[in-house]
Each structure stands twice: as C-alpha cells, then as structure tokens.
Amino acid sequence: MRPRSEKTRGFALTEAVVAGTLLLLVVQVSWWVTAVQSVVATRVVTGARILDETRLIHHVLASEVGQGRAGLDWGIADGELHLRAFRGMGFACENQPGDGWAVAVAGFRGSTANKDSVLVFSGDGSWHTSALTRRSQRSSIACQDIPGFSPEIWYLDPAPVRPLAAMYFERGAYRFSDGAFRYRSGQGGWQPLTDTGIVVDSATLEPAGSRGVRARVTWQGPIPILPAFEWTTWTLR
C-alpha cells in the first residue's frame, strides 16, 4: 500500500485552516447580526414604550388641566403643576336626611373622608370649598337613578347652604424628576407614573398663556437623536 503523500497532508491542514477561519467568520457574523437584531428590536420596543408613556403623560395632563380652571384650580410654580385633582362629582338626591347631605356620586375613584375636599355649588349660584369629614353609603336613600351614580351621605365642614352639586378633589402636583413623570398627592412622596428614562433637564412644564400648559418631554433613547415631544394642553372650563 502506498503511504499518504506530503501534498495530501498539507492540503488537509490548509483545508482545516480555511474551514476554521470560515467558521470563525460565520460565528462572528452571526454574533454581529444577533447583536444588531437585538439593538434594532430594543429600539423598536423602547420606541413603543416611549410612545406609550408619552401618550400617558399627555392624557394625564389633558385630563387634569382640562378639568380645572386656570389660576383657581391649577397653576405652575418651579416647573411643578399644582392642582386640585378632581376625582369625581355628585349632585343632590331627591330626599335629604336630617344630618349630612345625600348625594348621587360618580367618579374615577370613590370619595375619601379626611383626604378629599369638596367644591360645592349652592342654590344661590356660588361655589364654596368644604372638607369632607365623613361619608357613608346608604342604599336606602332615594336618589335619581342614573347609571354609574350611587348614593352617599357626605358630612362637610363647613356645611354648605342649599347645596346642589359638587366635585371632590385632592390636592396634588405633577413634575418631572429623577428621570420620570411623577405625581404627589397632598404632601406625600413623589410617585413615578412612568418608567425612568426622561431627560429631566430637557423635560419641562410651563405656562402657555393664561389657560394652557406647555409640556416638553425628552427621552433618553437607544438612538443618538433624543426623542422629544412638545405640546400644549388647554383648559376648557
């Protein structure tokens, strides 16, 4: 039998080197492509999240600013939007108890005694603010039947004269801080409403005329160009 020639062995070595190089190349390309895919997917997902959270901020500001009257219910100081955050309303029930005020109430959350205040509309056409000191739910109260409204008894201090309707609210404030859009109820801590990622130095809340709020939100993005959004919300009240 003839032994394997030198040329044949050398060819096998060259072939192995080429194969190894190609393998490395394939691995590298695959790694690169995976990394690019990851980056692109991250951008897509992050972009979607940024849009979602910007939409959330827009919705919150539009709702809060739209509910109140500029100067009376909300104002901006030091980049913070301070406001009466209205959470629901009620109107006088047909029958009134001897003590307290029977109201049909509807809101995005229930009224909370010792936390909420109430802006009361009286029969003389005036508005006054009272504190909600106590509330109770009684299904036995005769009230106009409107879907979504449920009867309650409110105890207000001071007690209003000839109350007809009311809005209950909490004191609150919004601002951009520590990378997020935050809300503070009363004198409590600032709670984030969005994920972090907002460039706080470039995110502002400022007055726009006498009845508007101009918001500017800039996000830290995975792309070199920072995604920035700016809009003005007007009160309609």
Partner: protein
Amino acid sequence: MRVAGSPSRGEEGFAIVLALLALMVLAGIASAAVAAAVGQLRAAAMAQGVLMSRTGARAGVEATLESIRGTPASVVGGPAVELASGSHSTRGSWRVLGVRLSEEFHLFIGEGEMGGAVPMREARLVWWIDPEARVAAHRAVVEANSVSLAASAQLLSDSTLATRQGMPPCDHLPLLAQAFAGPAVPVSGNPPGPPEWGAGTDGAEFGDIRLGWYGGPMLGELADLDLSGGGPAPPGCPTCWAGLVFGNGPVRLAGDGAGVLIVIGDVTLGPGSSWTGLVLASGNVVIERAARVVGLVRGGGEVSVADGAVVDGSACAALQALKAATRLARPLPLRERSWVGPVPPAGAGR
C-alpha cells in the same frame, strides 16, 4: 471521483444555512416591529375613540344648549329626562340627560360613544328660567330703594294671586302660594340681593340690571321689542303680551302694554297709560297721574306713584308676562364655572 466545479460534501447547504439565519434575524426584527406597530395602532385608535366619544358628549351638551327652547320638562328631584340625542361623524352617537336640581338649576349629562370605543360622559350646570320661581323671588309688590306715594296713589297687595281678566289663575301654584299667600303681602320692600338683583361678584354685565342669570347685554339681545332710543311702542292692549320689552336709556310709555318691561335707566308711565306684567328698571320708575301697573315692580332707584295712579300687585300678571317672553325660556350655562366632573362612563366601577 470529484468533478471540478461541483460542491464537496462539506460545502453543501452552507449558503442555505446563512440565508436561513439571515431570514430568521430579519423575521425577528420584522415581527417585533409589526407587534410594536400594531400595539401603537391599537393604543392610538383607542385614544382616538375616547377623544371622539368625549368630544361627542361635549358637543351634545353644547348642541342641546343651542337648540332646546321652552320650559323644562323635568321636575325637581325627579328622574333624569332625555333632552336631545343625535349622531356625529359616521359611527358616533350622543345624547343628553337633564336632571333638575332645583327650580332653576339643572345638570346636563352628555353621553358620547364612538363606534364601540369607551363611551364618555361630560356634565354641565345650567340655569334655566322658571317663571314661577322668578315671580316667587319677589317679596313685595314694589321693590325699590325708596318709594314715593302721592296722596291719592294706591299700592295694592291684597289680590296678588287673584284671577284677572285674560289671565289664567295662579293661586294653585305652590311657589307662588308660598310667596304671596297670607294676609300680609308687603306693598313695598328693598330690592333683594344677588342673584335676584345686583351684580354682587357675578360680573359686570349684571351691574345695571339682571333677571336671574340674564344680564343687561343678554336681555338686550333677546328682546322681542327694543325701545332704546325711542323705538316703536308695544302693542296697545292690557293683555297683548309683547314678550320681553327692553330699553337702554330712559323710556316713556304713553299707552297700554303688557309683558316683561326691562329698562336700563329710568322708566316713566305717562298719564292714563298702563302696563300689565313685570317692570324692572335699574333707575327710577315714575308712574304718573292715573297710570296703572298690574303686576310687580322692581327698581334700582325710586318708585314714585302720582295722584290717581295705581300699582295693583299681581303675581299672576307677572307670571303670565314671563311665560309670554318665550325667548327667555332657554337653558343658559353658568357664566364662570359650569362644567363639572369628571364623570366616568356609565359602566365604570369605582
């Protein structure tokens, strides 16, 4: 035997592997992008639906305020009444419910829906004149800062609820019975405070004159007959109801007339003339010799009644005059704060 140009075993399918790998990567990116885009599209569509529903609810309330006329059908403490409904764009609908909170204050609740999106509600407080409540707000036949009576002048308050010729009876109406029944209806008294009379803090347009939440400028716009600058005289008949007769500046009447007479300035009823209904003037009211007023009078200055002149207090005449002033029978949003809320959708839990 290996043929030149044909792939060896180790090279078979290599390109396919690379192509599949690239396709998988591209498919992954594309699917992520599609998922994100679809999610954004849904969120945006939902936001659009909510916005259009809210706009529909708000527009419904506005449209109702602009279109509805007459006296309210709802009763105080009674169930909500559907005031109006309609559609907007191609898939949206709205309706407005009215709840009567008091004799003249109502809550309008607008409901808007847009093609299966979350329905939204908006509520607004409105004032809607009630003639009976308006008349019952008077506590005397003549309300003025001062009253001057000549020796043979008469102020009568003993038949304020009596039925008179050409007028339906009004003594059965509870608010009027409460306000004017009894043996001692005052013949005169001081003008009441806001919102019945005087501006208070309600705004400059109520400074000269007001009728509930109608200020001077709006009363001028709604007038059926404008006597400003010597306009045409009202129909000459004690029961020819002229509606709302308005004058900006001094007004002098020489004949007979009936209705709601509102004057920014002084008003004078000449000798032998008459007015049936309601007389409101920001200045003086001068009732000259043998002139006659059947109804109620309110003046911001002095009311002087000359010899032989009579003010025959009649709540029924004032009521009939207000009812005949049909252009006043319309809901009016409060001047300052009128939108109330938030009102969540009907099905939303708290």
